[in-house]
């Protein structure tokens, strides 16, 4: 390595480190802020480390507000949505990629067509439908519309196309039924694709905001983002400590999941391009 090369590299490291600090500072500040009192958060100039660290903010979230319920709702909805997508989308993806049946081209065209349609287009009629089904302000109302999605089918189909067709033929000759072939031969091979779709779906559901905002209307069905948004814009706007703690509760679980699965996660983003 030449001296000039080393020097430019040194600058690059410095630049990247400054950028990294800028990017992660809001999170560090959020977590530190959740241990500060309201008074301290209002202090000018602001403090960095909490002067008298307190857990009171978190205590109040769960005792005075119902963050336990919101947390449960967010978890139930995200888990059901994820399981639904993994199961149904892999079934369709397999059928579209491997099986010959009438109408499959039409089904695929329909799925591709709706892939482009943004959520904002359907939320008004979807709300009217869900209201008529009596599902407003219920957990099924929150998860039913998201149990399947065109993106998951597309992802699964592309992945199944890469599997050898002989596998299915061989299993058929061995006398396995079509469903057995899917569940025992194909599904285990789909693990990488299922992991990617699973992580993306869970995250999308956990962070989803517009639909739960419309459908959840009482304390019993609020999800974490809805509760946090409504709480932060009401007359509680000045409850800085509670809001920092609330934001931490919303962000921390996915941050932990992300750190555990980050390799798979980033692979998924790189290959699918969807957050």
């Amino acid at each position: 390595m030449t001296g000039a090369g080393n020097r430019s590299r040194w600058w690059l490291y410095l630049l990247l480190t400054v950028a990294l600090l800028v990017v992660v500072t809001p999170f560090i500040w959020m977590v530190l802020g959740s241990f500060k009192s309201n008074a301290e958060l209002r202090q000018v100039p602001p403090t960095w480390w909490p002067e008298n660290p307190t857990l009171e903010n978190f205590g109040q979230l769960f005792s005075r507000l119902s963050f336990g319920t919101y947390f449960r709702n967010s978890t139930v909805v995200a888990v059901v949505v994820t399981v639904g997508n993994l199961l149904f989308c892999s079934m369709v993806g397999y059928a579209l990629a491997m099986l010959r049946f009438r109408g499959k081209r039409l089904i695929f065209a329909l799925i591709l067509g709706t892939l482009m349609i943004p959520g904002v287009v359907t939320f008004v009629p979807l709300f009217v439908l869900v209201a008529n089904l009596g599902l407003v302000d219920t957990l099924p109302g929150l998860f039913l519309p998201f149990l399947v999605g065109p993106f998951g089918v597309f992802l699964m189909r592309q992945f199944v196309l890469g599997l050898p067709k002989d596998l299915v033929e061989a299993a058929r000759i061995d006398g396995a039924g079509e469903f057995r072939i899917f569940f025992q031969v194909i599904l285990p091979l789909l693990t990488p694709a299922l992991a990617t779709l699973g992580i993306l779906t869970f995250l999308g559901s956990w962070n989803n905001f517009l639909w739960p905002l419309v459908v959840a209307q009482t304390n019993d069905t609020y999800t974490l983002p809805v509760a946090l948004a409504l709480y932060s814009t009401g007359q509680n706007e000045q409850q800085y400590g509670l809001l920092m703690a609330g934001a931490t509760i919303v962000v921390l679980p996915v941050l932990v999941v992300f750190l555990i699965f980050q390799r798979r996660f980033i692979q998924g983003i790189a290959t699918t391009g969807i957050k």
Partner: protein, 317 residues
């Protein structure tokens, strides 16, 4: 299930061993399995996606409000009245302008930051590479609502971190979210911070496909780093750039949570977005109007996507 199908399986495999003539072996079985595997999806997809898509067209040409919730088909046909209303609505016009501002400044900015980060991580960095990548990516996975709440405090005029840091270098920072001039740039800065990680990861994947020999050949011909980036990397990355610009623009055109949580569209409607205004009209019970507004957003998304494809692929020849 297995017991019911076992006799058919027998014939299927015997067929397979026999001739592979006109009809493929086990075709009926495959046909049935194909439909059974697709059925649950089709039901859910039909009810909760396809049907609402069709219905949204219908709603947008009616005067449906929340009073018609129980009888959504006994409403008056008003043709394009709702659309006409949108064009004459000064708040919607403001919202459309704000959204355009957000997209026109936000998308290029996001892509520039993302590309710079990707190139920096792709050249000469061996140590801590994954640490930087992880760090840059963390904002993407977090809830935009939580992030918006945190940023509201970061941007607080007195006790916020941003103005404190600016104060160190002698700058008297503005009341970011309370100023009609600075509220939108604040939201854009936050959006760039939150979203560039996605684009960065996709660019990084794209950069891996740039052949190293091309760079070396260009370097021998005397091209400097910028010329190599401009004339070797960018042309090869063009499909990736197109993809990222389209998906980022689609996302930004629907921008909603940021103004909803941080500014409530204010001050003086300076940050209200088209999606947020649509949501407001919906929550006032003006379903027909909200449906028309959401269709206008959709049409703009479709046009922008088509334009991007045309603009960015023409240069290829």
């Amino acid at each position: 299930m297995t017991t019911a199908t076992s006799p058919r399986q027998g014939t299927g495999s015997r067929d397979a061993r026999r001739s592979r003539s006109s009809r493929p072996p086990g075709a009926a079985r495959e046909e049935r399995a194909g439909w059974l595997l697709t059925l649950p999806f089709l039901l859910l997809f039909g009810i909760f996606t396809a049907w609402p898509v069709i219905q949204s067209v219908f709603f947008s040409v009616t005067d449906i409000t929340n009073r018609d919730l129980r009888t959504p088909f006994q409403v008056n046909f008003v043709a394009f009245e709702q659309y006409a209303k949108a064009f004459g609505d000064p708040v919607f016009r403001q919202a459309a302008l704000n959204t355009a501002y957000f997209v026109l400044v936000g998308v290029p900015l996001t892509m520039t930051v993302a590309l710079a980060a990707a190139v920096a991580l792709n050249t000469g960095i061996t140590r801590f590479r994954s640490v930087y990548r992880l760090g840059f990516y963390t904002p993407v996975i977090t809830s935009i609502v939580a992030v918006a709440v945190v940023w509201r405090f970061l941007l607080h005029p007195d006790s916020g971190l941003v103005n404190t840091v600016l104060g160190w270098v002698g700058i008297d920072g503005p009341n970011w979210l309370g100023s009609t001039t600075w509220a939108m740039p604040s939201l854009i800065a936050m959006a760039v911070w939150r979203n560039f990680g996605t684009a960065m990861i996709i660019f990084l994947a794209g950069l891996q496909s740039v052949p190293q020999q091309l760079h070396e050949a260009a370097a021998i011909d005397g091209a400097n780093a910028w010329q190599r980036f401009r004339n070797v990397t960018v042309p090869i990355l063009r499909p990736t750039i197109l993809f990222v610009s389209v998906t980022t623009a689609i996302g930004y055109l629907q921008f909603f949570e940021e103004p909803f949580v941080m500014t409530q569209g204010g001050p003086l409607n300076s940050t209200i977005s088209a999606s947020m205004y649509t949501y407001q009209q919906f929550s006032f019970g003006n379903y027909g109007y909200a449906a028309a507004l959401s269709y206008l957003i959709f049409v703009v998304i479709a046009i922008v996507t088509a334009l991007q494809f045309r603009f960015l692929s023409e240069k290829e020849d």
